[in-house]
């Protein structure tokens, strides 16, 4: 794995008495596309703010390109592109004026990329931002984050206001941009199916804590729903017995949820290993069917 571009260690953030982030330890390697998912209020935006140094951490540390996030030197800031959830566009200025201002401020601008995106996204550049639709504002905001060819691109809900066609176009662009192995992308979204297409790493955040950080492929292979059908009715104490049997068969196994009715039970487990199937069938004297889960189901199971 190449050097991490983003590192957070035991990161915490409290505002007044409220703890927003707790003990967050994550890393994003150069060239990766990290998708961040969490319920509303789980801490996604705060995590991005703290990682980018917009807001200081109350405990732990975070670094971008090896520098402390909160005291980033100017030249490091210039290597980062960020599009916030609520755009920070100036209503009376046009798209073109925003581009000129941003290019002047940053001192470099990839005109070819910017004009290609303008064209592909059908962005009206000569209208005041006030007159743009929500989706057009979002596209402009993303274009401004991309135009200086940043090595690290951070997008907070970049597709929320886009229609399905624009969204697919945007994902395609994002993949093209991410095809550069020097570039790292961090983005959050509620549209889980987009993450399944574009992200290679997933961070699941729940109540300010990271409950999963790792490759998407590994996540899908490691979480499974087991459908257990025993030869005879299962006792009421089964959940405890089953948990013990499952954990003994696969040491790292974690039971996320379990339901028992008569001679049937359903268990959703993390850190599943196919090798455990045969011994488990024997131990439980039951038929076991293993169902793999899509990211949306996995996300919901992490919240059950």
């Amino acid at each position: 794995m190449s050097e991490p571009v983003v590192i957070a260690q035991n990161l915490g953030k409290a505002i007044g008495r409220d703890t927003i982030l707790r003990d967050v330890t994550v890393a994003a390697a150069r060239g990766s596309v990290v998708g961040i998912i969490g319920k509303n209020g789980a801490g996604k935006t705060t995590l991005m703010d703290v990682l980018l140094g917009f807001s200081p951490a109350t405990s732990g540390s975070s670094q971008l390109f090896g520098h402390d996030s909160f005291t980033l030197p100017g030249q490091i800031r210039g290597r980062i592109g960020f599009a916030p959830q609520q755009d920070e566009l100036v209503n009376m200025l046009t798209g073109r004026q925003h581009v000129e201002l941003t290019a002047a401020l940053l001192g470099r601008w990839n005109r070819a990329l910017a004009s290609r995106l303008q064209g592909a996204w059908g962005l009206p550049m000569d209208r005041p931002v006030q007159k743009l639709s929500g989706g057009e504002r979002q596209k402009l905001s993303t274009l401004l984050a991309l135009g200086h060819d940043p090595e690290l691109l951070v997008l907070d809900e970049p597709v929320a206001a886009l229609d399905p066609i624009s969204r697919r176009q945007f994902l395609q662009e994002l993949l093209d941009i991410a095809a550069n192995p020097q570039r790292t992308v961090l983005f959050s979204t509620h549209i889980v199916s987009d993450l399944e297409r574009v992200a290679d790493q997933i961070w699941i955040i729940r109540g300010g804590t990271i409950v999963w950080a790792g490759p998407l492929d590994h996540l899908k292979e490691s979480v499974a729903r087991l459908h257990i059908t025993a030869r005879q009715p299962l006792p009421a104490t089964l959940p405890t017995t089953l948990r013990a049997t499952l954990s003994a068969a696969v040491p790292r196994l974690e039971v996320l949820s379990m339901r028992v009715a008569g001679s049937r039970a359903t268990a959703v487990v993390a850190h599943w290993d196919e090798a455990a199937l045969a011994p488990l069938r024997e131990a439980l004297e039951a038929d076991i069917e293993v169902e793999s889960l899509g990211l949306e189901d996995i996300f919901i199971e992490f919240h059950s």
């Binding site: 596309v33 697919r168 994902l171 395609q172 993949l175 093209d176 991410a178 095809a179 889980v192 199916s193 399944e196 297409r197 574009v198 992200a199 290679d200 998407l216 492929d217 899908k220 292979e221 038929d287 069917e289 169902e291 793999s292 889960l293 899509g294 990211l295 949306e296 189901d297």
Partner: protein
């Protein structure tokens, strides 16, 4: 940017619980085992597949590397990957049956739940395969 229109070779479901690289590996194995992908057949590039299906190229590249490691695919300098020429046109019967084992296991389980016996199931499969040809 635009690639020429192509007929899709694979069926990829990004939202499935089976990782995309796994889906691709399984399909190439099956297509090679059945002889539908003959030795020397060129495969679309990682970039082409990623763009056609709007999926992360890393997962496609992982699939191709795995298949190359198995000796099923051959990497050619500056040219598309091809189905390895050292392979027989199609695998032996046990090899081909092994490819389809996961699907058969799922089918058997469903048949048991529906209380179908093997004769009834075999008859049905025979009919389906006859229909398809």
């Amino acid at each position: 940017m635009e690639s020429p229109p192509t007929v899709r070779l694979f069926t990829l479901h990004p939202t499935s619980g089976v990782p995309i690289y796994r889906q691709l590996v399984d399909q190439v194995r099956r297509l090679v085992a059945s002889g539908q992908l003959a030795p020397g057949t060129e495969l679309p590039s990682v970039r082409e597949v990623a763009s056609e299906y709007t999926v992360n190229p890393t997962t496609i590249s992982k699939a191709y590397s795995l298949l190359e490691g198995e000796g099923l695919l051959q990497r050619n300098r500056g040219k598309p990957m091809t189905i390895a020429s050292s392979r027989q046109k199609s695998g032996s019967l046990p090899q081909r049956l092994r490819q389809i084992e996961p699907q058969v296991e799922a089918l058997v389980l469903a048949a048991r739940q529906l209380d179908l016996d093997s004769a009834e199931l075999c008859h049905f499969i025979g009919k389906k395969m006859g229909d398809a040809s």
